[in-house]
Symmetry: C2
Subunit: 344 residues, 2 copies
């Protein structure tokens, strides 16, 4: 793909501002961890793998701000706490924080300058791994997709959600790279419009034909046979294969099931949380109701009403055809096969 | 309810401009049939029963413009053609036009002035019948709804979609009038946002508690047991019970079915089209793609993409628990029972 969602440049973190897309392609530069934390919370950057990379880079930035070796442990704890408080659902955030903390546990004898370098190296490693992981997911996943297929996706699990070329969209990019002609129906993904604003933008920028629909049109096009497979990303996958992903994913999965359309989830193993037994144990973030009642400067609903804004939902494992990871494609029974994946 | 969607006043037709809600409550006055036709096409007025009433009143206005008795038949034909060309899916439009034409067939000997008066009377009769029909639908339907129930509705099948207090929302208003405490989850209904703009507005104006959600949250709240029944309107019901209604209705019905939540359709018998065998025979209007890509003045998607905008979808009869009409509640088998309804 022809842009970078997140990069480490001259000891600062550069991110494309996803709130401004598709109108403006603006890159923000962050020099401290607090700025990165706010960027995650405000969705300058979003998408589970990209949040993981941003968290790691944010901690590496934060560590550079530490003046004093004796304060390292306490200050690291404080930095990690701030980063972890940004968004509750995507497990990649917590996974990345744990990996960064592990650097300190393994190098307790190192000097302040050594630690700063080690943290930076680990963040860059996580970034590079995500790029490689995307490639592997794309390579495994594209075997599932026929030539001339029309796929449906929800939200954005593309380059904008990762450091590389994406998870769900990574499969599509890899398919196109291997010579397949693919078309993509993109659900706009209310309320934040990641589909309309981000997925439509990055696919178009990479010359892949897009058809934009509102979320509630998914069933219409499935019913008329337009869709051969659905492919989405994930924010957290429980041990039993239940998938937390952007609100609306569950509805698309139920419709795909009714129409016997394969429903694929593409995600790195860092999204799989064996500590969480089922989807019901995954915390679901509720975001500001203004995301629902306002579109830009325009208010679309009357005052004096209750509004709900859960950002994610749970798709039960039974509705998932396969989970595409960098270690291979996982099929049912998920509980057994996901566990096996980690013992490889 | 405490406003009028459409009225005949001093030989003109007055409609609340539904494109301006909920920001502004503006009433437009139409003095000729062309204005009414444009108002239907541009969705100043919408909702199958309200479209039927507007069509009848539009024809009555048009007939008043005829100068010359000899030209009556030809001009009536021309007026009806214009009115019929506005929107293809809601059958109430064609039903109302046929009823108005029938006035002429029954009074071929009448003078121009007599005909003008007869057409006006018939339009007012259709208007009054719609008000009465709503009351009967409300009365039959509210028996299906328990006290303290939380219902879900999609789009607007309320006072704003009829001359009276609504079909789906009529059931809710009648339930509240009979002393029940009811709460309503309203799906915002992209792209035109009839749920967020219209249903949330009229329920709030009538002191019924509303919770607004985006369309893709319906499954989330059903999964957590928040919804006891779904109730929607219809634009056309085929002879076999398949229901054409606002895009997204099908998805809600599939989700309700999965969660064993009753799915009710409330509609006057003028919405039932025994001439149309199944839902697949109902023409589905595709509207301007700007409804999807623009929200107010704000463009939410990149340029250079394909966009689709079917305004309706088909919910197969098997997913419908019951159809609530002014002649009573119709259950399965719909083909037999709908036919029987018309022989009463």
């Amino acid at each position: 793909v022809n842009f970078h969602t997140i990069e480490w440049k001259n000891d600062s973190v550069v991110m494309i501002d996803q709130r401004k897309l598709p109108d403006q392609e603006i890159y923000n530069e962050y020099k401290d961890y607090a700025g990165v934390a706010t960027a995650i919370k405000d969705m300058v950057i979003r998408g589970a793998p990209a949040i993981g990379v941003a968290a790691a880079m944010g901690i590496a930035l934060g560590v550079r701000q530490i003046q004093n070796r004796e304060e390292f442990k306490d200050q690291l704890e404080c930095i990690c706490k701030t980063i972890k408080s940004t968004r509750p659902t995507a497990v990649n955030l917590f996974w990345a924080v744990d990996r960064m903390k592990h650097v300190y546990q393994q190098h307790k004898k190192s000097t302040l300058e050594e630690l700063k370098e080690l943290f930076k190296e680990e963040a860059l490693k996580i970034w590079q791994e995500d790029i490689d992981t995307n490639q592997k997911i794309g390579s495994f996943g594209q075997d599932l997709i026929g030539d001339n297929a029309t796929l449906m996706t929800h939200c954005n699990a593309g380059a904008l959600a990762t450091a590389g070329h994406g998870t769900a969209l990574g499969v599509i990019y890899s398919g196109v790279q291997s010579g397949k002609k693919l078309k993509v129906f993109v659900c706009e993904t209310r309320p934040f419009l990641q589909g309309a604003r981000l997925t439509a933008w990055e696919l178009t920028k990479n010359n892949i034909p897009v058809t934009l629909i509102t979320d509630n049109m998914a069933g219409y096009f499935m019913r008329y046979g337009a869709i051969e497979a659905v492919i989405v990303g994930a924010d957290r996958i429980a041990a039993n294969g239940d998938v937390a992903n952007k609100i609306g994913t569950y509805g698309v999965a139920v419709l795909a099931n009714r129409h016997k359309i394969p429903f694929y989830v593409a995600a790195p193993t860092s999204t799989i949380d064996l500590q969480t037994a089922t989807g019901d144990d995954i915390p679901i973030e509720e975001r500001d109701v203004n995301e629902v009642t306002m579109i830009g400067e325009k208010r679309i609903a009357p005052y004096g009403i209750e509004v709900r804004n859960p950002a994610f939902d749970i798709t039960p494992a039974e509705l998932v055809t396969a989970i595409i990871t960098e270690k291979g494609i996982v099929k049912k029974p998920f509980k057994k096969n996901l566990k096996q994946l980690f013992s490889k």
